[in-house]
């Protein structure tokens, strides 16, 4: 790891880690904990104080810095965990379930933080059950099912981002208009009176289809391409392994 054996102290100096269920010493406050760990990294004096306060601000718990950790909620502990993983300005960060225990705002903050780290040139390695986060953040993903690595690679290679069809929503459609679609429609779902969702295959030309329906009195609402998501891929991979236990997880790299 980083050109040295994994346990080497020089490596640990350059790596950050957030454990899955972060328990820290609950007799300490957030600030004291960060000062302790910063000390272990050899930071001292003004540099340490500056680093600790900037991280407390960054993860949004500056207001609670003097509160003992035993009074912290799971989401707040998660934020402390993130802060302590970044104390040494690591080149490589391992985050075990960084989104767990966080509210939607917290998740958004963490996503922003991960992207910020990426922009700084830091490699972020995180595990998550929340596939949409992985899809939004990662350049490379690996899927682990039942403790076995199933697949890994660039997200763009895995999903190939091809359009597998179109989802068209229109209103004021007469039954005759629907019939005119014929075999082009893979699936037609009625949403309300006259309003339908029509799924068509990738070969259909959506412009022509919309034009045809409009000429029969239909009104256009929306047209969206259907892409394979990481979730689809994940389900596909898991089901491909009959013996695999239900719990799988994605270990993406940002």
């Amino acid at each position: 790891m980083l050109g040295k054996p994994p346990g080497h102290p020089d490596v640990r100096r350059r790596v950050g880690y957030l454990p899955e269920a972060p328990y820290f010493y609950d007799y300490l406050s957030a600030e004291e904990l960060l000062n302790y760990f910063a000390g272990l990294f050899g930071l001292r004096g003004a540099a340490r104080t500056a680093r600790v306060s900037s991280l407390l601000d960054r993860v949004g718990i500056a207001g609670e810095r003097r509160l003992p950790l035993r009074k912290f909620s799971k989401g707040m502990l998660q934020r402390v965990g993130l802060a302590q993983a970044l104390l040494n300005e690591p080149e490589l960060v391992f985050l075990d379930e960084p989104m767990s225990g966080l509210d939607p705002l917290g998740r958004r903050d963490v996503r922003a933080l991960i992207l910020e780290l990426r922009d700084r040139g830091c490699t972020v390695f995180f595990s998550s059950h929340i596939l949409s986060d992985a899809e939004a953040l990662c350049s490379r993903v690996a899927i682990v099912v039942g403790g076995q690595l199933v697949t890994s690679g660039r997200l763009s290679d895995i999903l190939a981002f091809e359009v597998s069809g179109w989802e068209l929503v229109m209103t004021d459609l007469q039954p005759a208009a629907l019939e005119s679609l014929g075999s082009a429609a893979r699936k037609v779902t009625r949403i309300s009176e006259g309003r339908y969702t029509i799924e068509v295959g990738p070969e259909a030309e959506p412009e022509r289809l919309v034009g045809g329906l409009r000429s029969r009195g239909g009104r256009f609402v929306s047209l969206n391409p259907v892409r394979t998501t990481l979730e689809d891929y994940f389900v596909q991979q898991v089901e491909a392994r009959k013996t695999a236990p239900p719990a799988g997880r994605v270990m993406p790299e940002g």
């Binding site: 640990r12 790596v15 880690y17 328990y23 010493y25 300490l28 302790y36 760990f37 272990l40 050899g42």
Partner: protein, 269 residues
């Protein structure tokens, strides 16, 4: 890497302070002052002995409880709560963690023993001040006997031995079992001398050898107890204190080395 050891040690001390371990000192002070008042009714001279006896005994009991009950949790608690994972990914070597833990508790005990010694001297001083004739009545040993410090010093080294034993058990076993083992070894340690002469009471030579082997392997704690000698004014030589302390520190060092070996082999998954 003394800085890391120092940080770990400092936080053990800080935790014990925040967990209100030092409150036992208040209990100690109340006990001493209360006792001195009650015993003040006895003959002059006798009361001084009883106060010294009581002060030393209470110090050793309180110290023993702190050493055992904090000692057995030092490593176990961190492993159990998984905080150790997060610590060991930092640039902390495993021996630094163990040695830091030991020194932290050693610091807590040092503060405790120092305050208790000071409290005992304070009570003795108070007694002298309240009963002006006391100095002449206490014939065996002076009231404010500096020898008491030797008793406290040996008590402290003994507690370091107990701490090292507790810490050793803490690296691979839960607190209940570790506390039971440590208390067991403490008691055995006080009767250890019998093992050395085991061969003279049993016929079997093998049993005699076993006794000898155990005598060297188990901690020998009886020599650390000089309460009776000090209270009755019998001299305790500086050489004796130094040699006994040397033995204690060597024993504690060996236990910590074992603890480091066990802890370094542990695979945390």
């Amino acid at each position: 890497m003394g800085r890391v050891i120092g940080l770990v040690a400092y936080h053990v001390f800080k935790e014990s302070v925040r967990d209100k371990v030092l409150y036992n000192l208040v209990l100690f002070a109340v006990l001493m002052i209360g006792a001195s008042y009650l015993i003040g009714q006895l003959t002059a001279g006798q009361d001084v002995k009883i106060i010294k006896d009581l002060g030393l005994a209470a110090s050793s009991v309180f110290g023993l409880f702190i050493a055992v009950f904090i000692g057995v949790g030092l490593v176990w608690k961190e492993v159990d709560r998984r905080s150790v994972y997060n610590l060991l990914v930092k640039p902390v070597r495993r021996y630094e963690f163990i040695v830091g833990k030991f020194l932290g508790l050693a610091l807590t005990l040092a503060v405790n023993i120092a305050v208790m010694a000071a409290a005992l001297y304070a009570v003795l001083g108070l007694m002298t001040w309240l009963q002006p004739g006391l100095g002449k009545a206490a014939v065996e040993a002076p009231v404010m006997d500096p020898q008491l410090l030797k008793a406290f010093a040996l008590l402290y080294v003994q507690l370091l031995v107990v701490t090292s034993v507790a810490l050793f058990f803490s690296t691979f076993s839960g607190p209940m079992l570790s506390a039971a083992f440590t208390f067991g070894l403490y008691i055995v340690g006080h009767f250890n001398a019998d093992l050395a002469h085991f061969d003279s009471v049993v016929k079997s030579q093998a049993a005699g050898w076993l006794g000898k082997a155990l005598y060297y392997a188990l901690p020998n704690l009886a020599p650390f107890d000089v309460k009776a000698a000090v209270v009755h004014g019998q001299p305790v030589s500086a050489t004796y204190v130094a040699l006994t302390s040397g033995y204690g520190l060597l024993y504690a060092g060996a236990m910590i080395t074992l603890a480091v070996i066990v802890f370094s082999r542990r695979d945390f998954k």
